[in-house]
Symmetry: C2
Subunit: 700 residues, 2 copies
């Protein structure tokens, strides 16, 4: 995309002499940004605009045009695009709105436009976007009121208005950007294309995204995960609550997918999720300039005890921990600090400290092996010039390039010079302890992602695919999508997922001989395609321990069912071995429109919803992802043997989850699967799927 961001020549089609028009703003912004290539305003009714010769059309421009910025009314866009194609333009930046986002005709118009773009082998940003900025070229092809400061953060935004707000905010925070692109309706070039390009871009150290929707989650995960170890990619997803998603739908016409799927997708892709706009940038500023530290390698330094306390509180609340200093560090600190100072982490050099004491302490901390990052907090005092401290920090950073330094100067006007000096010298600046802690957390999360080995996907082969095919064929033949419990359990068994011994009995006598064969006690359950919630209609009897009870139960169940669901088609009654007690877990699979199959694991029984102790992952999973999935639940503490409880058969559980994974990979037409409970026993004693629901996609 070099020709988009560093074009030799740019045409602005729809350039205007009227300062209230966007066509004027864009041309002026390109000129003001110091763009040194050829710039051609296109406007059939003007001779000259802003001192530049204007052309009546793209065709009439003498030289080549790399990029055409289009701001003509929507009804003319198609013609202009075609002309651009003929002219050999490489990139279109379509600012004009009135496409997919307005629905109806707009959707059609956007499809047409995309067809033209493809036909001429061009690429397009937008339509319905703010434009594109490159601070290193430099060029500002947007109608924003402000150019970005030069820096090393790339920002991709699905909302143009958000770009204007961010540019304004960043001007105050002295945050610099390498490139900014407003992707608008992203009809052609999507966030993925820009992520890939920016992670290769030498001017970019961190890639930021604001998105409301991702159209193809599976592709996103596949492509993004290949580049997120090169450069940190941080995302803010708009529309994560119902209210937000509703607003998102009316905003860009994009369907906001379910949060769990997005989160699982981002996790798999190695994308860091921010939960707010400020968090997005607090992460970015640190990730674009500092090496990521270990979770327990953080030192806090301040000239104010209160700031030490507040910072330590927030770090710990975020799950980080303060580094334990080496003993020689402690000795050194004792020598250079007064007795009222706090020399253990956090280090309080106290209010009467001058810059020398502060910086000596900083160097002492940086030279400690156990310290990966130092947070330098400051409260304004008469004895310290913040600019002196800033200069010292920048010097020490040069001496210790592998250590992260983050400045947390709490205040305002006292630091205006310091902010600028620090940010220009790639030391992240924050004015509040909470923001500083957020930034460190971002670094640590990225460190842990970088340290994570690439997963190896190994398929499970000792499974009976033929048997599953047969069962699914039968279900399809009968025109059903919901499987009977007996069918679901047969499928599970075919994939080595343990289920209780069971038999589908067609009569009381049949049931008795099944029970005698299986062994008491047994459970009996109605089997009918018309009954999903068996308990509600008296379709289940448990704890049956004799042939008489089997006979009674059979009749009672049939009676109940015919009473509640008179026209239910009854296939028989499932006689099943009653299972021992164990730890109740739940496994569920659903299919997300954007991200495909999503697996859930967590606490079973009433605790599933009460404590929402569940975690999600996308299928396919490698073994490490299964372990990660289990490890993200609280029930895993119980399975590992909590407070003297016996250790559960985690190995078998892991194996079962891998088998479910394989089943879904082999039969993606299974769009819903629910094992509740999956009962887990002590180590060596396995686990068992007691109740299984399975639903197929509508036949294709």
């Amino acid at each position: 995309m070099d020709k988009l961001f560093q074009p030799s020549s740019v045409a602005v089609v729809g350039a205007s002499r009227n300062p209230s028009k966007i066509g004027f703003s864009i041309l002026k912004n390109i000129i003001d940004s110091g763009y040194s290539g050829n710039l051609y305003p296109v406007n059939p009714n003007a001779e000259e605009i802003l001192g530049l010769k204007a052309y009546p059309s793209l065709k009439s421009i003498p030289g080549d045009v790399d990029t055409a910025v289009i701001v003509v009314p929507s009804k003319y866009v198609l013609d202009v695009a075609r002309e651009a194609g003929e002219k050999g333009v490489k990139y279109l930046v379509v600012i004009t709105a009135g496409f997919k986002e307005v629905g109806g005709e707009g959707i059609k118009r956007e499809k047409e436009l995309l067809r033209v773009v493809r036909e001429y082998d061009m690429n397009m940003v937008g339509p319905n976007c703010l434009g594109v900025i490159d601070t290193h070229t430099p060029i500002n092809m947007t109608f924003a009121q402000r150019m970005a400061r030069k820096g090393h953060i790339a920002f991709i935004s699905q909302s143009g208005a958000l770009v204007t707000a961010v540019l304004d905010w960043a001007a105050q925070a002295k945050i610099g950007f390498s490139k900014i692109v407003s992707i608008g309706n992203k009809a052609d070039l999507t966030e993925l294309d820009f992520i890939e390009y920016f992670t290769r871009d030498p001017d970019t150290n961190a890639v930021l995204l604001y998105v409301e929707s991702i159209d193809n989650g599976v592709e996103f995960v596949e492509r993004a995960s290949k580049v997120t170890k090169k450069k940190p990619v941080i995302i803010l997803k708009g529309g994560v609550t119902e209210a937000g998603a509703k607003a998102a739908v009316s905003h860009t016409g994009a369907l906001a997918g379910r949060v769990a799927a997005y989160e699982a997708g981002f996790r798999k892709a190695g994308v860091i999720m921010a939960s707010s706009l400020s968090e997005l940038f607090d992460y970015a500023v640190a990730l674009a300039s500092q090496p990521p530290p270990r979770r327990n390698g953080i030192a806090v330094l301040s000239n104010a005890g209160g700031l030490c306390i507040l910072t330590a509180d927030i770090l710990v609340k975020k799950g980080l921990s303060l580094a334990t200093f080496r003993s020689d560090t402690i000795e050194k600190l004792k020598k250079i600090l007064p007795p009222t100072a706090a020399i253990y982490n956090p280090v309080d050099v106290v209010g009467d400290s001058d810059a020398v004491r502060y910086l000596n302490t900083l160097e002492t901390l940086l030279s400690d092996d156990s310290v990966d990052a130092v947070l330098t907090l400051l409260a304004p005092t008469a004895l310290i010039d913040p600019l002196d401290i800033s200069k010292g920090i920048v010097e020490l950073k040069k001496k210790y390039p592998n250590k992260a330094i983050l400045a947390g100067f709490v205040g305002g006007p006292s630091y205006y010079d310091a902010v600028e000096y620090l940010m220009d010298n790639k030391i992240p600046f924050y004015n509040m302890p909470a923001r500083l802690a957020t930034a460190v957390l971002g670094l640590v999360m990225y460190k842990e992602y970088l340290d994570r080995p690439r997963y190896k996907y190994v398929s499970v082969e000792d499974v009976d695919r033929e048997r599953v095919k047969q069962i699914i064929n039968i279900v399809r033949k009968e025109g059903r999508t919901v499987l009977l419990e007996s069918e679901a359990k047969s499928i599970a068994a075919a994939y080595g997922i343990p289920v209780p011994k069971f038999y589908l009995a067609k009569s009381p006598i049949d049931a008795i001989s099944a029970a005698e064969y299986i062994g008491y006690p047994v459970v009996m359950k109605i089997v009918s395609p018309d009954i999903l919630h068996k308990t509600d209609v008296g379709g289940i009897k448990a704890g049956i321990s004799s042939s008489e009870e089997v006979e009674d139960a059979y009749e009672e169940i049939i009676m109940n069912v015919t009473k509640y669901v008179p026209r239910a088609k009854i296939y028989g009654i499932l006689v099943e071995k009653m299972a021992d007690k164990g730890v109740e877990t739940i496994v569920g699979v659903t299919k997300d429109l954007q991200f495909g199959h999503l697996i859930m694991f967590g606490s079973g029984g009433i605790y599933t919803e009460l404590f929402k102790d569940v975690a999600f992952s996308l299928i396919p999973m490698a073994r490490e992802e299964v372990q990660d999935l289990m490890g993200r639940t609280k029930i895993f503490n119980i399975l590992r043997g909590y407070r003297g409880m016996p250790v559960s058969d985690i190995k078998r559980l892991e194996d079962i989850l891998l088998r479910i994974n394989q089943l879904i990979i082999d039969f993606p037409e299974i769009v819903e699967l629910d094992i509740n409970p999956l009962r887990v026993y002590e180590a060596g004693r396995g686990a068992i799927a007691l109740d299984i629901k399975m639903v197929l996609s509508k036949e294709v």
Copy 2:
């Protein structure tokens, strides 16, 4: 304290001509703040300081002195204080450090100082503090480098350095203060004295605190709860994690109490807790100027869809909900907004909106009964002058004084004028959606506190106090503090707390007749003052259902116990009715050093610690507080009948908690109580305390 904040005359003892000395800064700050009363520098070695006649001593000052600011070295402070007493000074502001915070001699020196202050009927701020500011007087008796902006927020801080940081930060954020006091070691005047004074102060609309410790929590709750409905009181507690508390201890020498007790205390006192410095001020700015809205009365308005989405997301995440507009509001919006606008809440007037459209929409929302608060979000565009919007907002606020308006203009330099205009006209300004949402949450929490009726404390009278006295006497006589289970259960029974039928058997035969009388199945447990954890030594047998089993169990338990704890003194074996299954809950009582008795209620069994599903409250509790305590746990959903489960006997549970409450009120020497599990049955079937541990204070 009028004489402290609006003194007619002030002496600065230790005033200096040397600009690098604190004694210079303070005098200069008082002069620069525009103080119009009499100002006396006291310094025996100077004739004149900063153009003012200097006096060799307090005595030598001709007129009265209301307040003396003391900055002499710590060894002279006592003499100066005595002289101030003789002179009739009312208030001392002791800036000087070197007292309690340095330990040893310092502690003694502080006690002496306090004695003198009391002897002369003076009051003192500090020692070891930054000083006092009143922007309305105006007077700045601090050595901070900056005077506060005039406003309506009072700020009390245990950390002086934090005040300097906050002053600097507030200068940028245009936040105004009425009064600021750095309480330092708070030897005499504490946060409580200032809370009481500020909630009566006509210049103050909200009271802010930063504290690391509260010395007398019980007194704090009693006195603070009397004033928190007059004005909102918001607190930031430093040292809420172990790391933070460690830093706090080394910082001011104050012992940071346990978080749960502080939280319970603040809740009871009606104090709003902030979790970070920025949250403290985000709450404050809103609470100092806007009427608090209902939780579901919030409207969001913006010219940027992205900001609508992000704001809606965060509001919902914080448990707030967007107002549903009246149908005539929707109709009006349809008329004044273009078709691409979003007219349901959040309202997006879209990017091409001018100030007129934006403000018309705002008025439409304000005129809707279902809307209590409007969040006005803005992204910078060429079509809107933020100052125009600001002026419009201020006008509309005058027209709708009972509605809250909070501005969320996302950006930086574009809004510099707007920030100042809005803040000066009492419209809270925020530059990020997350901060805006935080502010609204603060308002809503205060609304709910204001609406909460005053609790009535009613004592439970059908209890047998004499019986409990007898049992405690026996325990005391034997020199024990840990009660036997039989004793704890007898105490519970005396207070109407249901326990299983039990009998303390001294022999196997004794046990058999007890079991026959109680009825099978029974549980048998060792009773020994030397054994706390009965399970660990094989001291418990459950599910015993015949006389033979009773005999066997008796011998086995005795054998186990004598094997594991050979020298254990055995009082006998408790034979107890085995209880039916039910919902497992836990009740615990501990005594906090600062806040007194703290009660915990929550999920019992392994879930207590795994899910940390527990809530805390201070004793004494009114019935409403018991209900609130239960309602703050997740297990309460189960008790209320979750997903078709039977409703539990919540009434009886409430009654039991009130009886435990009464027991602790009557016998505060019980410093620990643990009922685990307290098993709760279906409505009408009560509950039962299965295992009770009780510990008394060391004898007095």
